[in-house]
């Protein structure tokens, strides 16, 4: 309510910007699907509805996503309980390691699986040798392969959400339940599970939406099995642009329907009345044999979950053309890494990805900050609309957004807000930016909501103007949120494959595309070396973003 004019202006500019970048391209896609050279037409919609392949792809997307939720939950929930509830030696370290699949960008995870479980991967070759088989024991292809990769890369959502949910429980509640005569199972069902429901629903929603938008795994492992994201790309490569638009619309509708449905059933987190006590203590395991068995199991699980990382590291030292049928590569070299640093053709994608991701991150943080401040301080409709617009790209698969941006910014018509960006340096940072807005602004908004509004008023009553308050009070206090939002944005953009494959040019080719082309020219060592670089950069940036404020807690 103070400084009304400036706040209104910021909100207005932000609204126009978001409508232009987020909503407008999607509307254009919708229009293109029902508009041909000779005016309005439903021809493409009819064509879409008549083709069984389209229905199969849509159905494939749906059931793969549902199955991914079930599998990710089946892996992630037990892991969360094991590592955060039981008192195992090294439980904290192991608990951290288990979250590491999060540092593998989707495409890198996929190629790691290829090296590990593919027909010429370590595990297959090892089995062939041991069992004296003449053919690989399996083919890493089709729905099964996609689900395997999804379960591996998405259990982390369930793992992290449930772990946070368990940590947020009040230990005294468990003691209260025990003192009221509730046994372990009754406590679990009546006290723990109901309070974990928001975490479980949140993880399920995130997994579903991520696998609906998943592109890398179906693209590499799909073979004849199509989901809608890969179907769109192949239709577009066939030159059937209008049909691709209709497919894009169908996938968007599926995503939005799922979001609405899950949102409706998701319970709001209930706030307890009193103060929250300490998190429940870990359950000690007293019998030595049991303790040994569980510790061994925990280590085994961690090793299995980290095999893809280790594989990638190992393969990155393999010289080109030396590893064919041996279970373990016969020769090693650091030449692959030297090539990444020396060979200008190999350096270029790294430089590209760095600046593309940096530009997108800076813009996403700036817009996210402005949006968060508007949404956190204005309870009115405008604040809610801006919050909704910032979150919208999250519900829309990356493939869809890439197509939408490619459609909107391939025409020169400045008077209707369309300029040519496709084929220029700017289309990729723009695409990364739009895709990153939801996660970045969500992190910053959470930080802004947690700030005591009285801090602003205190600064005002001490004579500090708007800029001084922003610079000296708001920004320093939002630092952890800004770092978290920025690191998420950077990691996503740095490893992006799904939007890049539709929008890159030779000059702006990012690392992920270079990995793909190295793989196609059978240069697995270089592909893996790129993967290791992506993994390490992502991991470091995540660590930076997770920096905890070591300063005194908030007053009062």
């Amino acid at each position: 309510m103070i400084r009304r004019g400036a706040a209104k202006l910021t909100a207005g500019v932000l609204l126009v910007l978001l409508l232009w970048l987020v909503v407008y391209p999607l509307v254009l896609v919708l229009l293109d699907g029902v508009h041909g050279p000779s005016g309005w037409t439903l021809e493409h919609v009819r064509e879409f509805l008549a083709r069984p392949t389209e229905w199969r792809a849509l159905w494939g997307s749906l059931w793969i996503s549902l199955a991914s939720v079930v599998l990710a939950a089946a892996v992630g929930i037990p892991l969360a309980v094991l590592f955060s509830r039981y008192d195992l030696p090294g439980a904290r370290l192991l608990g951290g390691l288990v979250a590491l699949p999060a540092v593998l960008p989707p495409l890198v995870g996929v190629i790691a699986f290829l090296f590990l479980y593919g027909e010429t991967g370590f595990v297959s070759l090892l089995l062939m040798k041991l069992l004296r088989l003449r053919d690989p024991p399996w083919r890493l292809e089709g729905a099964g392969a996609i689900l395997l990769v999804h379960a591996y890369s998405m259990y982390v959502y369930f793992y992290l959400f449930v772990r946070a949910g368990l940590a947020a429980l009040d230990g005294a509640q468990l003691e209260a339940a025990a003192s009221l005569g509730a046994g372990r199972w009754r406590t679990l069902w009546r006290v723990v599970v109901p309070q974990l429901r928001p975490a479980l629903m949140g993880a399920a929603l995130l997994t579903f939406m991520t696998s609906l938008a998943s592109f890398s795994a179906p693209y590499i492992f799909g073979g004849g099995f199509r989901v809608m994201t890969t179907q769109i790309v192949s239709t577009r490569l066939n030159g059937e642009n209008e049909l691709a638009m209709v497919e894009t619309v169908s996938l968007t509708i599926l995503a939005l329907l799922a979001l609405l449905l899950l949102r409706e059933t998701a319970p709001a987190a209930e706030r307890g009345g009193g103060r929250k006590g300490a998190a429940p203590a870990r359950i000690p395991i007293r019998r030595p044999a049991m303790r040994w068995a569980m510790t061994a199991l925990a280590w085994l699980l961690v090793v299995i979950l980290l095999l893809p990382h280790l594989t990638l590291l190992l393969v990155s030292f393999v010289p080109v053309g030396t590893w064919t049928t041996e279970p373990v590569p016969p020769a090693y070299t650091i030449h692959n890494y030297i090539a990444l640093l020396r060979d200008p053709v190999r350096v270029r994608p790294l430089v590209n990805s760095l600046w593309l991701a940096t530009a997108a991150t800076v813009a996403a943080v700036a817009i996210g900050l402005a949006g968060a401040l508007v949404a956190a301080r204005r309870r009115g409709r405008l604040g809610r609309v801006i919050e909704g617009l910032l979150a919208l790209p999250w519900a829309v698969p990356g493939t869809v957004f890439a197509i939408a941006l490619a459609t909107a910014f391939s025409v020169r018509a400045p008077w209707v807000g369309r300029i040519i960006l496709v084929g220029t340096l700017w289309i990729l940072p723009l695409a990364y930016l739009v895709r990153n807005l939801p996660i970045t602004s969500r992190a910053i908004l959470a930080g802004a909501r947690a700030l005591d509004p009285a801090l602003d008023e205190a600064a005002g009553s001490l004579g500090a103007g708007r800029w001084r308050t922003l610079r000296q009070v708001t920004l320093p206090l939002l630092r952890p949120a800004l770092l978290a939002g920025g690191s998420l944005a950077f990691v996503t953009a740095f490893g992006d494959f799904v939007t890049s494959i539709l929008l890159y040019t030779y000059d702006t080719r990012p690392v992920s595309l270079e990995i793909l082309s190295s793989l196609r020219s059978a240069d697995v060592g270089v592909a893996a070396a790129y993967g290791v670089v992506l993994m390490i950069v992502s991991g470091s940036v995540f660590a930076l973003g997770a920096e905890r404020p070591d300063r005194g807690g908030p007053a009062g």
Binding site: I2, A464, G465
Partner: protein, 356 residues
């Protein structure tokens, strides 16, 4: 002399409900006023209107004759201590206290000197480099006070300044706060829902209910002459009993009042039109006595020792509870007894028209 701080007909609505309804108050320079009321009475909103965090729908705020209603909080130079202190957690104690001085352009050695002075006022000398998170609740409260006082504000605003302290700390801090503010002579408005706090800190107390000002006065005026049942009930202990005014008595200024058929002759109790009324009874204005004319029969429910005597909870035949202050063990719980105005009445009993 015209008042230093003036609230003139302030009105504030939130979504159509009146939070502050035509509140007018005036403070002399150096006066300390307590805004007292239950939650939702509009006392905090009134304070926020004063600070400029809310703008009134009608009315004005004047400081030294100058209208500051449209002046932004940044320029108003009112110091404020927030209920949860709102200390900046990323800045140390010194930087918190320096914050307002820097707004005034104070720099260098002068800044350090004035920060040290402000911290000395609240007995925190040498605390400049401490982190906020390392301080106890009482120390945080004092830093908040030092921060508000350092820029030498024209008016000091305190929003429930003691509510976040342990009860054991509260009384001592209250005395220190009162002494400091008296010594500085700064015009102060304080919001509280605790009568004891308001009486101890306020030169005058303004009682608010549902956004309206019910009464303003010194603590003893409020206690001795409550303007209505609400003020009487909110300030000090009392019981309310339905009664019937029968008319003036033969002698002097006395009024004849009937309570459940028992007739009392009361003096100096206010409005005396014949008809239904309500009596506000302070426990010390009543005593137990022998049954007979003018004695109201009651049952003793319980007693509670309070130092100079005991407070007895009693119930009349129709179930109205009345508290009586009397020597310890005057009557036993469960016994039948009779109550009447004590001889030294003349205060402590007030008559209000029914339904007011």
């Amino acid at each position: 002399m015209s008042p230093f701080l003036q609230l003139d007909g302030l009105v504030k609505r939130f979504d159509g409900t009146l939070a502050v309804d035509r509140v007018s108050l005036a403070l002399e320079r150096g006066e300390m006023l307590a805004l007292l009321g239950p939650s939702g009475s509009g006392k905090t909103t009134t304070l926020r209107l004063l600070a400029g965090f809310e703008s009134p729908d009608a009315g004005r705020v004047l400081v030294d004759g100058e209208d500051v209603t449209g002046v932004e909080p940044v320029a108003r130079r009112f110091g404020m201590v927030f209920q949860h202190y709102a200390l900046f957690p990323h800045l140390d104690v010194g930087a918190n206290v320096a914050f307002g001085l820097e707004s005034l352009g104070v720099r260098g050695a002068e800044l350090d000197r004035r920060v040290a002075e402000a911290l000395a006022l609240v007995d925190l000398t040498g605390f400049e480099r401490r982190r906020i998170g390392q301080l106890s609740g009482g120390q945080q409260q004092r830093v908040a006070l030092a921060r508000a006082l350092a820029p030498e504000p024209k008016v000091l605003l305190l929003d429930e300044p003691l509510s976040n302290l342990d009860p054991s700390l509260r009384e001592r801090t209250r005395h220190e706060l009162r002494e400091l503010i008296r010594r500085l002579g700064i015009t102060t408005v304080l919001v509280t829902h605790e009568q004891e706090e308001a009486f101890d800190l306020g030169d005058r107390v303004a009682v608010l209910r549902q956004g309206r000002l019910e009464q303003v006065g010194t603590p003893d005026e409020l206690y001795a002459e409550p303007a209505n049942l609400f003020v009487g009930g909110f300030v000090g202990r009392s019981s309310v009993v339905p009664a019937m005014v029968l008319g003036p008595a033969d002698a002097g200024n006395e009024v004849r009042v009937a309570i459940e058929g028992v007739e009392w002759h009361l003096e100096g109790v206010g409005a005396a039109a014949a008809g239904p009324a309500e009596l506000l009874l302070r426990p010390e204005a009543l005593r137990f006595g022998p049954e007979g004319p003018g004695a109201l029969p009651v049952t003793v429910l319980a007693s509670r020792f309070v130092g100079p005597g005991a407070l007895f909870a009693t119930a009349t035949e129709t179930g109205v509870t009345i508290e009586v202050m009397a020597p310890v063990r005057s009557v036993e719980p469960g016994a039948r007894a009779a109550i009447m105005p004590s001889r030294r009445a003349g205060g402590g009993i007030h008559l209000y028209p029914a339904g007011a």
